[in-house]
Assembly symmetry: C2
Homo-oligomer: 128 residues x 2
C-alpha cells in the first residue's frame, strides 16, 4: 500500500493508481451518507436534528461522523450557537457548494436510469 506522502508522480493523473485524486475523493463521498448530507445542505443550512430527520435511516453516530468528515475536508462549516439548549448549524462551504453540481448530475442520471437498471437486474436474475 502506498503512503499518503508520495502522490508526487501524478497529482490527479492516472485515476487507477491507488492514491489518485479520484480514489481519495471517492473514499470520502462513497459512503452511505455523505452525498445525502451534502444534498440536504445544498437546499440550505440545517441543524443537526433537521439533518437527522430528513435523512431517513441515518443514525446519530453516522450523521456525526459524516459531518465531522465533511468539516475536516472543508466542505461543510459547523457553527455553534451558545444558547441553552445548544444550537448547531451546518452549512456548505464554497468548496462544498461546488460539489453540488456534479452530484446533481449523478442524481439526474440515477433518476433517469433506475428503471432500466431495475429491469436489467430482474432479467439477469431470471436468466440465472
Amino acid at each position: 500500500m502506498v503512503t499518503t506522502e508520495q502522490a508526487a508522480a501524478a497529482p490527479g493523473g492516472d485515476p487507477y493508481q491507488s492514491d489518485c485524486a479520484t480514489r481519495r475523493i471517492l473514499d470520502r463521498i462513497g459512503d452511505r451518507w455523505t452525498v445525502l448530507v451534502i444534498g440536504v445542505l445544498g437546499e440550505g443550512d440545517a441543524r443537526f436534528s433537521e439533518l437527522r430527520r430528513r435523512i431517513e435511516g441515518v443514525s446519530q453516530k453516522m450523521l456525526t461522523q459524516t459531518l465531522r468528515g465533511l468539516e475536516r475536508d472543508g466542505l461543510v462549516r459547523r457553527t455553534v450557537h451558545p444558547q441553552v439548549p445548544v444550537r448547531v448549524d451546518y452549512a456548505l462551504t464554497d468548496a462544498g457548494t461546488t460539489l453540488l453540481e456534479p452530484l446533481r448530475a449523478l442524481q439526474q442520471w440515477s433518476i433517469a436510469h433506475l428503471g432500466d437498471v431495475s429491469a436489467s437486474q430482474e432479467a439477469y436474475d431470471r436468466s440465472k
Copy 2:
C-alpha cells in the same frame, strides 16, 4: 431555506427516503471499484486480466464481483470467446456509457479540489 414540508411519496423524487433512486445507484457505484472499472472501460473494451492490471490493488474476487454487478445492472456487457485459453471481453453498454459523463464530472471535481481538501484536512488535524 429549509422545507418543513413533508415530501409526498415520490419514487425517484425525494432523494432522502431510503428507497429513492439516488440511494440505490449510490449503493451500486459507491463501492471501491465500480467507478474505476467503468472508467477503464470508458477508454475501450478490455479483458479481465487487462482490467486487473490497470486497476491497481483490485483483487480477482472483487473485480469479478464488480463486473457481475455491472453486468446485472445492464451497464457492462460480457462477451466470452470460446478459445483456448478462454478470452473474455468486457465493454460498456449504451447505458453504461451514459454514466461516463457524470462520473467524469466528479473526477474533474476531484482533481480540481483535492489540494484544497488535503490542506483543509491538515489544518483541521493540526487544530485538534
